[in-house]
Each structure stands twice: as structure tokens, then as C-alpha cells.
């Protein structure tokens, strides 16, 4: 990918010599989701992002120019440092992440393996949903509140520069309201006028995803190279 053959070899030689190499091996051992080539490739990218440092900090993502136009850029970057996603705790953000953590996050986008049993597939699905849920649930209290939902919608709307800010806010509010109500209905909560549905729990969140082919949506093409390589 963009690296000529000879320079790749050079890079590998160099990698072998220092502690990067151990890191790659570490990564490979901890992440059975990726094959060797993918690990190396991701590691190369990691080094590029981190500026040859062992860890990445949020500001390192500024390097990715293409991210600039992404309306939910900050959320995505934050997801990389979210302890919940990294499996390091129930809340809070990590200050910096290493290569293994980087792999952990990327592995959320791994396609489902065909030999998975139904239970495994379901577990996998829930993992992916949890990642998304964490992206929505900013304060880590386990529910998506109206405000949180609204801010997501606002972020998404902000991609359109021609829409005025104040208007976005009101629209977002309205949409979020509606979406919450819908979620309540889908997840089978009794509908009571005086007892509003306050927030979406993870279980309800999973329910709203019923019938959606998450596998098609939440995976990145290149991670599927494994199929071709095997």
C-alpha cells in the first residue's frame, strides 16, 4: 500500500532491530483477529500517526487530514481512547494508547467470521453495538439520554455548513425526541404519557438494531483481506 517493495523490506529490517518488532509480535499474539500482514500494515500506520512514538495521543489524529471534514470526528477519536472500548475500565478516557489498544479498537470493525456459531456471532454483534453505544453515551452512565442523543444528531447535522447553528439545535432536539420515543416503542416499553421514556439502555439499544444487518454496515473492507489470503 503505497510502499514500494524494497522500502518495505528495509522497513521490516529496521523494525526487527528495535522494539517495534516486539510490539508487532505482541500485537499479533494478543489480536487473533488479524493476520500477520494486516498487523504489519496497521503498525506502519500506527507509527506514522504517532510520529514514531510508542503511544498515540488524541492530537496525533490531527495528522489525518481526511478526518477534518468528518462531522463526528471528535467522537471517533475519543472512541479510540475510551476505556470502555479498550476494556480497561467502566468509564473515563485514556490519555494515550499503545499499538495493542489501537488494534483492539480497529478490531471492532473486523468482519464476522463465517465459522462462528450463532452464539458467538451474537456476542460479536453485541460487542460491535457496544462500541457504538459508547460513542453515543458520552458520560458513561450506561444510558443514552436525550441530551446525548441530541448532540449526536447535532454533530451529524453540522456536516452541512449551510444550515444555521440555532436551527440545527432545534431540529436536533426534535429528531432526538422522536428517536427516543421510537426506541421506547421498539424496545417494548409500556407507553405512558405521564411516564416518559427517559433514556436508552444498552439492552434497548440492541433491540432497536434488531433486523438490521450490522455485519454489512460495521465492517471495513480491507480487514476482509484475510478471506483472499487464505
Amino acid at each position: 500500500m503505497g510502499v514500494s517493495h524494497s522500502s518495505k523490506e528495509a522497513w521490516e529490517r529496521e523494525s526487527r532491530s528495535d522494539f517495534w518488532w516486539t510490539q508487532i509480535q505482541e500485537g499479533f499474539r494478543s489480536q487473533s483477529d488479524f493476520n500477520w500482514d494486516q498487523i504489519k500494515q496497521l503498525h506502519q500506520r500506527f507509527r506514522l500517526l504517532s510520529g514514531d512514538q510508542p503511544t498515540i495521543r488524541p492530537e496525533n489524529f490531527d495528522y489525518v487530514l481526511d478526518l477534518e471534514f468528518n462531522p463526528i470526528r471528535s467522537r471517533i477519536v475519543r472512541a479510540f481512547f475510551d476505556n470502555r472500548n479498550l476494556g480497561k475500565g467502566t468509564s473515563g478516557l485514556a490519555e494515550e494508547i499503545g499499538f495493542e489498544d489501537f488494534l483492539t479498537i480497529i478490531s471492532y470493525f473486523k468482519p464476522l467470521r463465517s465459522h462462528f456459531s450463532k452464539e458467538e456471532a451474537e456476542l460479536y454483534r453485541r460487542e460491535k453495538l457496544r462500541f457504538l453505544f459508547h460513542m453515543y453515551d458520552e458520560d458513561g452512565d450506561g444510558v443514552i439520554t436525550l441530551q446525548e442523543y441530541r448532540r449526536v444528531v447535532e454533530d451529524l447535522l453540522s456536516a452541512n455548513p449551510q444550515v444555521e447553528r440555532a436551527w440545527v439545535r432545534s431540529i436536533a432536539n426534535s429528531i432526538a425526541c422522536r428517536a427516543l420515543k421510537e426506541a421506547a416503542r421498539v424496545s417494548g416499553h409500556p407507553r405512558q404519557e405521564d411516564q416518559p421514556y427517559q433514556a436508552i439502555t444498552f439492552e434497548d439499544f440492541v433491540k432497536t438494531w434488531q433486523g438490521i444487518d450490522l455485519e454489512v454496515k460495521m465492517r471495513v473492507n480491507f480487514l476482509n483481506q484475510e478471506a483472499a489470503a487464505l
Binding site: 468528518n70 451529524l156 452541512n160 439545535r169 426534535s174 420515543k181 404519557e193
Partner: protein
């Protein structure tokens, strides 16, 4: 039900017989008309004269069309029949029967499907419809797969079928035929292509999943270029004679493939650009706006035909590329017109094509039977299609994200239907050059009939038996849409971060390019703002609110006239919105639906939409009130002398607009006066209103709004309400959003005066419980007005004198307008129901 059907069937047969018996005579001589007339009219001037000769051709064409449409009508009377037998098969059989009747009446083959008729008039509407309603994202997402099947698959089919037939011919199984290798290849090339018309007609009834559908359908559309090139190449080779074909010619053939396909696509894209650009400036000629869409797309077809490029590709890509911009640019009414007209033309053409295919077959002159040839053709096209699909899928599955499974492959092989394109091409052959043309024609007919009737009939049970993943009929929910949008961004971000250039990356780049450049050039400024997908979601929300309200009313039994299968399915009323993505969302649904039933469906949707509009005034939801009416700019058309009287919808919009202002005024007033109403009164009011509404049905009467509006505005001034003045500032801008944004501001400033508007308050840290606890239409500020009106009981009797005193009443009841002006509507309270049969 049955009596109806048999009645119509009788009429149909009678009509067919009439047409059939008159037609040959009309063709065969000067006709009986003039002679009769001469006989009558020897003396002096005739008051009535029969101009048979001059109207003969169009009259007969129209009659046949009428027969075709009638038959479609009959078939759809019984849903059972069409759910088992595809309409296309029924039409072919009907065509055979009618052709037989005509033949029996007078031994002349009557109307046949001529290539000119087919390629210039019947095919373009179908292909344009397919392109214009193409689910773009799905299409481009699977473009690689589609192209492989369309190009390699078609070449494979053509070559193998042609060569195998030639091989069998050499073995002597077919007896003596005056054909060489090139003739066989020519035949192979025209019989190889999967036909878009047949595929559409059959697959629509079979609801397979959308990926499978788009692959088969996309293939059938895009293989046109291959077919055209192969056909032309081999035809010229046949003309040249086998021994004179050189290597240079073969190279030329390959080059011409790229020229024809890319050229056709380019022509389509250029015309799409033109069309989008034109619609940007048509807002002052709303009446002819839809015309541009049809004329320019048709022109793209003709242009590429003229340049001997792939016309089907041209019009397909014209539709695909322009849909987004055109749908955003043209007005809602025009979008509806375009949608209906396109569907009507397409389903009409389809009906005619299949019926004429049947009729064309009844002509002993074209039939030359050769059992071995016909049977082997059938076997070869099926077998090689299957082999081709399996081979290509095997390659594709190494790269595809969504694997094509064995079941999918079976359906794809089985769904390789041949149709009218092959027939029209084979009829085009020159008998002097291709000696066995008649054999080719009859074999093609057999192949078409076999694939359409037999395979069309059996594909549905097959799909059910194999349990192919069926398409989901439900509309995406709001949450799904939001999450889907978020996913797009997340995926492209992950690709950015991990440094890969994948599908999402390209899509992201394209949409950036589109936003930065293309949309700026091709879209009206107001449309640019509203095209955001999430804004569309919001747009839908308004409608959804209305619907759910109506559904609620219906549950209580007071609004039974509105059909509502379930609240979940009602999210999407976006047939009424011209926004690009919402339409996109419903396109797959549209495409999958039977084309002819779509019309019905859309009609009911339209009905529903109107009913919604109708009930809007009950729904005192702030959102609805402020967002559903059109920007003021559109009302100006009322006064333009270039415009015809705007339709009822616009009048209703206007009505809503004024009603809203009145309501806000009154609530403003009552807030000042300190009138407070409880919820109960509001509910009572609603029920009464619902009841009343039921009696009065659709208020699409002529509303004398101009004068009222005038009065109204003047009166408003007393209350220092800012909308009228503010709104006029925005007359120049055409977009709803600016106006809406403006309203939002108004509300904020107003909120101090006693109107609590939770939805649009800019307050960042609003209490969420307020928002969700009190449904907006029950918010205290709004209940004031209705209950005030509810107290004044308006007698339900229509009387015209109210016309004279509309304003006096208008403070009391908005119904007075409707009652005063729409008495005729009251006579048919069950009108909407009747459309659902």
C-alpha cells in the same frame, strides 16, 4: 368480485374482437368509411362525417393500448392470480389469444411489435424509470459485480451458446440449414442478453433481497452495450462474409465496445448535467417543469442512438445521475407529476410490450420449426447461464463483502430472462443476409415465452422453496437512519485512520466533491440546504407526527377513514417529499413493487397524504404547524398571470398557513387575557373535531383565501405579530428552511409572551422531561385556541351564506371555511376508503 371480473372480461374480449375485425379491413384497403360516406353524402354538405382514414392509425394504436390497459386492470382485480402468475406471462397469453382472434377474423397478422415501435417508444420509458428510481447507493455499491456479470457474463453466454449450436449443427443434428458460424454467433449474441423489461416484470413480484435484485437488474440494464456491440459486429461480419473478416475488424470490434459503452454513459451523464442545470432555473415555470425531465432524458436516448452508442446506457445513466439534483430542484408537485407519469409510462409500455409479443407470435409466416435448434437453444442458454454465474460468482466472492451464496446463484441463473430486446433485435435482421432469419425469430419467440412464462411462473415457488433471503418490506426506522448515517462517518474515519482507501473512502470523497462543487452548480440554493439526509428525516418527522396522531384517532374509532396498517410502517410518507435520500430509501420498495400496482399504492399514499394534510389542523403540534406549510414565496404564484390556478394542495397549504397564524394570534391574545384551558377540554375538542372531520372529509374545496388573507393580515397588526412582515422579507428566497429558521427566531422572541414552545427553544440545557412528557400538541399554549372554538358549536350543515362572513366565523372555527366551501365533499365521506378496495 367475480361478476365484476367476468363482466370486464366480456367487454375486453368484445373490444378485442371489434378492434381485431376492423383493423385488417382498415389496413387492407381504403376502408369502408369513405365509401359509406360518399354513399350517404351525395347531396350537399354533411353535418356529420366519418373521418376514418385520417384517424385510423392513432385510433387503432390507442384501442390496442386500451385493450392492454384493460387487461392489466382485469388481472389485478384478483390479487390471487397475479400473485401466482406474473402479469407478463398473463399478458403474453392474452396477446396470443387476441392475436388468434384477429387471425381467425381475417387472415392477416395484425399489430406486431416492430423494432421502431419498441426501441423508440416503448423501451425508453421503462429504462428511464429504472434509472430515475435506481437505488443509487445499492447500485454503485455493487457496480463491480454488476459490470462483471453484464460484460463478461454476456460475452460468455453469447460465445458459448453460438459456438455450441454451431458444433451441434456440424454434427448434422439440425439437418440442412443455410447458416455459418457467424450467423450462429450473431444469434448467440442477441439471445445472450438478459432483458431488463422481463427481469423487472418478474422480479418485482418475487421480492428477493435487494442485493440480489440489483445485481440481476443492473446486469440486464448494463449488458445492453455488450449486446449492441456484439450484435453490430457480427451483423457486419455476416454482411462482409466469413472469409473477409480480418484481425483488424476484430480489434475494431473490441475498441467499439469501449466507445459504445463509455460513449453512451458519457452522453447520459452530459444530459443529466444539462437536465439538472435546467431544473435549477425552472421555478417560474412550474407547469412545464416535469416536461424537461422527460424531454431531456429522451433526447439523451435519441442522441446516443444517433451516434450509434448504447442508448439504454445513456438514458439509464441520465436517470441515475440527475435524480438527486432534479428531485431537489423541482417542486413537490412537479416531483409527484414526474413520479406518476414515469410510472404510468413505464408500466403502460411494459404491458403493451408483453401483449404485443403475444400478438406478434400469431403469424404463420414467421414460424419455421426446427426441433433440435429450438430445444438446444433453450438448453444451452440455461446451462451456460448457470455455468457462467457460478464461475463469475466464484471469482467475485473472493472480493465481495457480502458473499453470494449458492441459493443466490441459483436464483441468478434462473432469473436470466430473455425478452423483447432480443425479439426486436432478431426482427431487425436482414433476411437477405441472414438466410435463416425466420428460424431465429421463431426460436427467439420460443425462448422469450419459455423464460417469461415458465421461468417467471416457477421462480416464485423456487425462491420460496430455497428460502432465499427475502427483502424486508418495512421502511427504515428513524433510529436506523440516524445510526446508518453515523456509520458512514465512522467507517470512513476508520479507513482514514488506518490509511486504507476503500469503498467508504471513495464514497466520502465523492460526497465531499459533490457538496463542494456539483451541488453548488446544479442545485437551487434553497435545495442545497434541505438536501441533507437528516433534514429529510426531520421532514418525515412532521408527516409522521400527523400520521401517528391520525392513527391514534383511528384507534379511538373517530378517524377510521385513514388506512393505517401499523404505526411502525407509517414512518415513511416520503413519497410526498422530493428530497433525494428519502426517495432513495423508498426506491427499492418502489422498484420491487409491481409497476402497475405501484400506481395504485402511490395513489393510496397520496390519498393518505392528503388526509394527513387534511387533519393537520387538528394536530396542533407546533412543529407541524410551522414546518408543513410552504414558504411564502410559493403563494405568490397565486397572483401570477402566467400560472394556472394552483391545485388544492397548495390551497390547503395556504389554508394551514393562515390558520396557524390565526391560532398563534389567538393564543397570544388569550395568554394576555389570561384564559387558561385544561387538557380535558382540549381532548374533548379533538374528539369533536375528529368527528366533524370525518363527516366533512377532505376539505379540498375552493377557498376564497386571498381576500381572507388580506383581511387577516390587516387585523393581525393590532396584535403586533411579526410574521407577515417578516415573511415578506423572504419572498425572494425560495427555500423553506430560511423561512423556517426565521420562524424559529420568532418563536423565541414570542415565548416571553406566554407561548411555551419546548421544541424550538434554543435553550441548550432544556429539561428533557418536559419534551417527552407533554406531547407537543397537548402543550398548554396550544390548547387555548381549539377549546375556544370547541365551545362554539358550528352546525354541520353546509350553507353558502358563510362565504359572506368568513372572518367573523374564522375566529371561532376554522371549519367554517371548509364547510362553507366544500359542501360537495361532504357528500362523500367515505371517499378515501374507496381507493383501498
Amino acid at each position: 368480485m367475480w361478476t365484476w371480473e367476468s363482466d370486464i372480461l366480456c367487454v375486453l374480449v368484445l373490444l378485442a374482437w371489434l378492434v381485431g375485425s376492423v383493423y385488417p379491413q382498415a389496413l387492407s384497403g381504403p376502408g369502408l368509411g369513405p365509401e359509406l360516406l360518399h354513399h350517404w353524402n351525395n347531396s350537399g354538405y354533411s353535418v356529420v362525417s366519418l373521418q376514418w382514414i385520417s384517424v385510423r392509425a392513432p385510433f387503432l394504436t390507442t384501442s390496442w393500448t386500451l385493450v392492454a390497459l384493460f387487461s392489466a386492470l382485469v388481472f389485478h382485480l384478483s390479487h390471487k392470480v397475479t400473485s401466482i402468475v406474473p402479469e407478463s406471462a398473463l399478458l403474453i397469453v392474452l396477446g396470443l389469444v387476441l392475436g388468434g382472434i384477429v387471425w381467425a377474423a381475417d387472415h392477416i397478422a395484425s399489430f406486431t411489435l416492430t423494432p421502431t415501435l419498441f426501441f423508440f417508444y416503448l423501451l425508453p420509458p421503462i429504462v428511464l424509470d429504472a434509472g430515475y428510481f435506481m437505488p443509487n447507493r445499492l447500485f454503485f455499491g455493487n457496480l463491480g459485480t454488476i459490470l462483471l456479470y453484464a460484460v463478461i457474463g454476456t460475452i460468455w453466454n453469447a460465445a458459448t451458446t453460438g459456438l455450441s449450436l454451431y458444433g451441434v449443427f456440424l454434427s448434422g443434428l439440425m439437418g440442412e440449414l443455410k447458416i455459418g458460424l457467424l450467423d450462429f454467433l450473431l444469434f448467440g449474441s442477441l439471445i445472450a442478453a438478459v432483458d431488463p423489461v422481463a427481469v423487472l416484470a418478474v422480479f418485482e413480484e418475487v421480492h428477493v433481497n435487494e442485493v440480489l435484485f440489483i445485481i440481476v437488474f443492473g446486469e440486464s440494464l448494463l449488458n445492453d452495450a455488450v449486446t449492441v456491440v456484439l450484435y453490430n459486429v457480427f451483423e457486419s461480419f455476416v454482411t462482409l462474409g466469413g472469409d473477409k473478416v480480418t484481425g483488424v475488424d476484430c480489434v475494431k470490434g473490441i475498441v467499439s465496445f469501449f466507445v459504445v459503452s463509455l460513449g453512451g454513459t458519457l452522453v447520459g451523464v452530459i444530459f443529466a448535467f444539462l437536465l439538472s442545470l435546467v431544473t435549477r432555473f425552472t421555478k417560474h415555470v412550474r407547469i412545464i417543469e416535469p416536461g424537461f425531465v422527460f424531454v431531456i432524458s429522451y433526447l439523451s436516448y435519441l442522441t446516443s442512438e444517433m451516434l450509434s452508442l448504447s442508448a439504454i446506457l445513456a438514458i439509464t445513466f441520465c436517470g441515475i445521475c440527475c435524480q438527486k439534483y432534479v428531485k431537489a430542484n423541482i417542486s413537490e408537485q412537479s416531483a409527484t407529476t414526474v413520479r406518476y407519469t414515469m410510472k404510468m409510462l413505464a408500466s403502460g409500455s411494459e404491458t403493451i410490450i408483453f401483449m404485443f409479443l403475444g400478438i406478434s407470435a400469431v403469424d404463420p409466416l414467421i414460424w419455421t420449426w426446427n426441433t433440435a435448434f429450438v430445444l438446444l437453444t433453450l438448453v444451452f442458454i440455461s446451462v451456460y447461464r448457470a455455468i457462467g454465474v457460478v464461475l463469475q460468482t466464484w471469482i467475485l466472492n473472493r472480493y465481495r463483502m457480502v458473499q453470494l451464496e449458492t441459493i443466490d446463484q441459483v436464483v441468478m441463473s434462473y432469473g436470466g430472462l430473455r425478452g423483447a430486446v432480443a425479439y426486436a433485435l432478431v426482427v431487425l435482421l436482414d433476411e437477405k443476409k441472414v438466410k435463416e432469419k425466420n428460424l431465429f425469430v421463431s426460436t427467439t419467440l420460443i425462448v422469450v415465452f419459455f423464460t417469461v412464462i415458465f421461468q417467471g411462473l416457477t421462480i416464485k415457488p423456487l425462491v420460496q422453496w430455497l428460502k432465499v433471503k427475502r427483502s424486508e418490506e418495512r421502511e427504515p426506522k428513524l433510529n436506523e437512519k440516524l445510526h446508518g448515517r453515523a456509520f458512514d462517518h465512522i467507517l470512513s474515519a476508520i479507513e482514514d485512520i488506518s490509511g486504507q482507501i476503500g469503498h467508504n473512502y471513495l464514497r466520502d470523497k465523492w460526497s465531499n466533491f459533490d457538496r463542494k462543487f456539483l451541488s453548488k452548480v446544479l442545485m437551487r440554493r434553497s435545495a442545497q440546504k434541505s438536501r441533507d439526509r437528516i433534514l429529510n428525516v426531520f421532514h418525515e418527522l412532521n408527516l409522521k407526527d400527523a400520521i401517528s396522531y391520525v392513527a391514534e384517532g383511528e384507534r379511538r374509532g373517530s378517524l377510521a377513514f385513514i388506512r393505517s396498517p401499523s404505526t411502525d410502517n407509517m414512518v415513511n410518507v416520503d413519497f410526498s417529499t422530493p428530497r433525494p435520500s428519502t426517495v432513495e430509501a423508498s426506491v427499492s420498495y418502489l422498484l420491487r413493487e409491481n409497476v402497475s400496482t405501484v400506481c395504485l399504492d402511490m395513489q393510496s399514499l397520496e390519498q393518505r397524504r392528503r388526509s394527513i394534510r387534511d387533519t393537520e389542523d387538528m394536530v396542533t403540534h407546533h412543529t407541524l404547524q410551522q414546518y408543513l406549510y410552504k414558504p411564502r414565496q410559493e403563494y405568490k404564484h397565486l397572483y401570477s398571470r402566467h400560472e394556472i390556478t394552483p391545485n388544492e394542495d397548495e390551497k390547503q397549504d395556504k389554508e394551514i398557513f393562515h390558520r396557524t397564524m390565526r391560532k398563534r394570534l389567538e393564543s397570544f391574545k388569550s395568554a394576555k387575557l389570561g384564559i387558561n384551558q385544561n387538557k380535558k377540554a382540549a381532548k374533548l375538542y379533538k374528539r369533536e373535531r375528529a368527528q366533524k372531520r370525518r363527516n366533512s372529509s377532505i376539505p379540498n374545496g375552493k377557498l376564497p383565501m386571498e381576500n381572507l388573507a388580506h383581511n387577516f393580515v390587516i387585523k393581525e397588526k393590532d396584535f403586533e405579530l411579526s410574521e407577515p412582515e417578516e415573511a415578506t422579507n423572504y419572498e425572494e428566497t425560495s427555500g423553506g428552511i430560511e423561512f423556517l429558521a426565521n420562524v424559529t427566531k420568532d418563536v423565541t422572541s414570542e415565548s416571553g409572551a406566554g407561548i411555551d414552545n419546548p421544541v424550538f427553544s434554543p435553550d441548550e440545557d432544556l429539561d428533557p422531561s418536559i419534551l417527552s412528557r407533554v406531547p407537543p400538541w397537548l402543550s398548554p399554549g396550544e390548547t387555548v385556541v381549539p377549546s375556544q372554538r370547541a365551545r362554539v358549536q358550528i352546525p354541520n350543515s353546509p350553507s353558502n351564506f358563510r362565504r359572506l362572513t368568513p372572518f367573523r366565523l374564522s375566529n371561532k372555527s376554522v371549519d367554517s371555511f371548509l364547510l362553507a366551501d366544500g359542501p360537495e365533499e361532504q357528500l362523500q365521506p367515505t371517499f378515501p376508503e374507496s381507493t383501498h378496495m
